[in-house]
Symmetry: C2
Subunit: 428 residues, 2 copies
């Protein structure tokens, strides 16, 4: 059998993938585990649409995402339509326009896919699988701590053992930078050097600028403010502007709540970077697993986003990137999302009724059972069962009161009574 | 608080919706129930991407869907990209190009959203939530019966009690029509009259055409061939061309398998219509619930679709339309997808540790528990709990060995030991 010319070219656009059963089961496991945990924390689902009017969506999007948005003219009313690149602005719109009469706080969660253009050759996914939560109406550091605690508990539930939640505070950074009365080009150059943690280059650039000594020190310390808890003390020793100091106090409060949860060990800090999205207004955080540079989750406080849709409310939230989780946890998930089917039913003879009834009884007890409808020999069925990871083959002979159960992995077998299976009285 | 001008225009493009928690929970329930049932029948998940190259996707799409496909130029490589309007061609492509070395049969399932342009003013959804299965590699009527049985078992699992699965056979219809050596315009006119079951108009048109008497009778009976089992006899009495007779024999075989499943009572027939998609090649079926004209599921045999991607294999499958199910079963699902949270934790005083530990212990037992972080009075918390459908409020006083449990619906309460909750020893 020859495949046509189609296989000589890439079959799929860049940045999207097919997921076959082994990976697909892991994606389902991750999404279901997260959603079940969110449910236990009192969060309820919302489903935003894939399509939005571009102008409505852009109210809530940062500049960074605007360029990455898939958009097109709608045939129907001539307006520009966008495929959402981020579900948080959508949930903010839903809260502001459709749930503003509900009492606060609102605890909402979602699971879905968004689309983002990625730079060519970047190898980045353009289709992003997100599962996340939004907590609307709470200003307190406890709400931010709840987000971080949920991220940590979710990662544990996925089976991750080693991970860090890297916490920042956009107001700390903004407090330092707001003191600089510099041309836009100098500011950009400074930000780029800080982001790349290039201390030598930063020092050299600062030497060419006229800044008060205290301010210069605050800028210069930024790329060094990453690591463990000691970062907060290091920051407090050098940075004295009021906005940054309030941000530090807020960070300490969040950390204190996490300590009562017993979760502070997972937290690291990075105050020298603006890693949140444009709408973030306080704490931000990203989750990292060993061996993967990309974050597996990110989130933070965004107190001004729902106001863009007409309803001011404090808010905080975060989302997992399921494909990044899949990359980092592929082996760990091998067991959790095992791809086996419990039973393949093999029946010789024309009367299929017994096989159908047995299948029905097994399914009612929660077992997975497929019938081998193809006419073939038992040996061929066993080979199929092995290749497709079935655990057992049940051999049913018409009119016989017993069935043979064959263990596919080692071939051992025993006979059990057909009636016992029909009565739901068998553990496989 | 005033909403800005944004609410004076429609916030969302036509044909898409926001789903708030009550509806979103029902959609989740439907998808999860179907996927769990599919798992028990031995089906394994695949996840096709949202984006495909248009030319690749069009190989597997019928003409009917081509016009409804959202498409745009890809910035990256200049090729036309499409948002899939139907997942079956995608699964066929995946099977043909990435799973052709696996032994057959393959049992695959999926859950996702597709997009279709709809005629303006039709009020139809443009975003369609599909959950479905494909069974690849089996030619036998038992495979088609498996699809119909799974559709019926799923509908029962959703809580539906009254429904019909309306079965057709595209080969029966095509067998009749293939005998007509008529201009395309006459054929179209005939098909339109048959589809609308306009017997008088059909008779009049046939009077103007020169056809053998037997063929004329076969065409004329088509719009009458819908209803119960007797339809098969009625068809056999009038229609004698070989292709249609084989289709009838196939229908009888499928019905016989369904009879051994004990499911024939749900089946009706409609042989006078081509309701399948362009790729269907045998049995087709649609599921209907009372009060909804649109089908809640549809499927059928498509033996020539994977070959379009280079791998010929018999196949059959079906998918649920979750939003149509939601419309038809909204009330039935009220209980299954109940939107309550078990516990709201109210703690006075500054020490929140007890509340956090209680929340943790409850969540570990599977309860949903949210902390009331907002500083407010117990009366205010109770009002919030009532409005947001919490079942209990737990009142925790610092340093006290007991907590008060208040039933939100009727206000009665009792005290329970804090230690018992921490030990997981309480049923709420």
């Amino acid at each position: 059998m020859t495949l046509p010319e189609i296989t000589s070219e890439p079959l799929l656009p860049r940045g999207v993938k097919d997921f076959l059963p082994a990976k697909a089961a892991k994606i389902s496991f991750l999404a279901e585990t997260a959603l079940e945990l969110f449910r236990r924390w009192g969060f309820r689902p919302v489903v935003p649409p894939s399509l939005e009017y571009l102008d409505v969506l852009e109210r809530g999007m940062g500049h960074g995402l605007r360029d990455k948005t898939f958009r097109f003219d709608d045939r129907q009313d001539g307006k520009l339509i966008a495929f959402s690149p981020d579900m948080t602005p959508q949930v903010a719109r839903i809260v502001a326009t459709r749930m503003h009469e509900m009492p606060l706080p609102l605890r909402l969660c979602y699971s879905g896919r968004v689309l983002r253009h990625a730079e060519q050759q970047s190898g980045k996914d353009r289709e992003i699988f997100q599962v996340g939560v939004e907590l609307i109406g709470l200003q307190s550091p406890e709400a931010d701590a709840e987000m971080i605690a949920m991220a940590i508990e979710s990662l544990k539930a996925f089976g991750a053992t080693t991970f860090t939640i890297d916490v920042g505070q956009v107001e700390f950074y903004r407090g330092v930078m707001a003191q600089l009365d510099l041309p836009e080009s100098d500011l950009r150059a400074l930000q780029a050097l800080i982001a790349r943690k290039e201390v030598t280059g930063l020092t050299r650039l600062l030497d060419t600028l006229t800044l008060p000594a205290a301010v210069r020190e605050e800028v210069l310390v930024l790329p060094r403010l990453f690591g463990g808890r000691e970062v907060l003390e290091k920051a407090a020793a050098t940075v004295h502007n009021e906005r940054s100091c309030q941000a530090l106090a807020n960070l300490r409060q969040v950390l204190a709540v996490l300590a009562t949860y017993g979760l502070e060990e997972y937290v690291t800090f990075d105050l020298g970077e603006l890693r949140g999205l444009d709408y973030h207004s306080g704490i931000t955080f990203q989750g990292f697993l060993p061996g993967l540079g990309r974050a597996v989750c990110q989130g933070g406080r965004y107190d001004h986003l729902t106001a863009r849709y007409g309803y001011p409310a404090a808010a905080t939230g975060f989302a997992f990137d399921l494909l990044n989780l899949l990359s980092a946890l592929d082996l760990v998930l091998e067991h959790a999302a095992e791809q086996t089917t419990d039973v393949l039913l093999f029946q010789s003879g024309a009367d299929k009724q017994a096989a159908q009834k047995i299948a029905q009884a097994l399914r009612e007890r929660g077992y997975s059972a497929a019938r081998d409808i193809i006419p073939r020999s038992l040996d061929e069925s066993l080979a199929y069962a092995k290749r497709m990871s079935f655990r057992h083959v049940l051999v049913i002979e018409a009119q016989q009161p017993e069935v043979r159960v064959i263990w596919v992995d080692d071939g051992h077998e025993r006979t059990i009574s057909l009636q016992a299976i029909l009565d739901g009285d068998v553990a496989l």
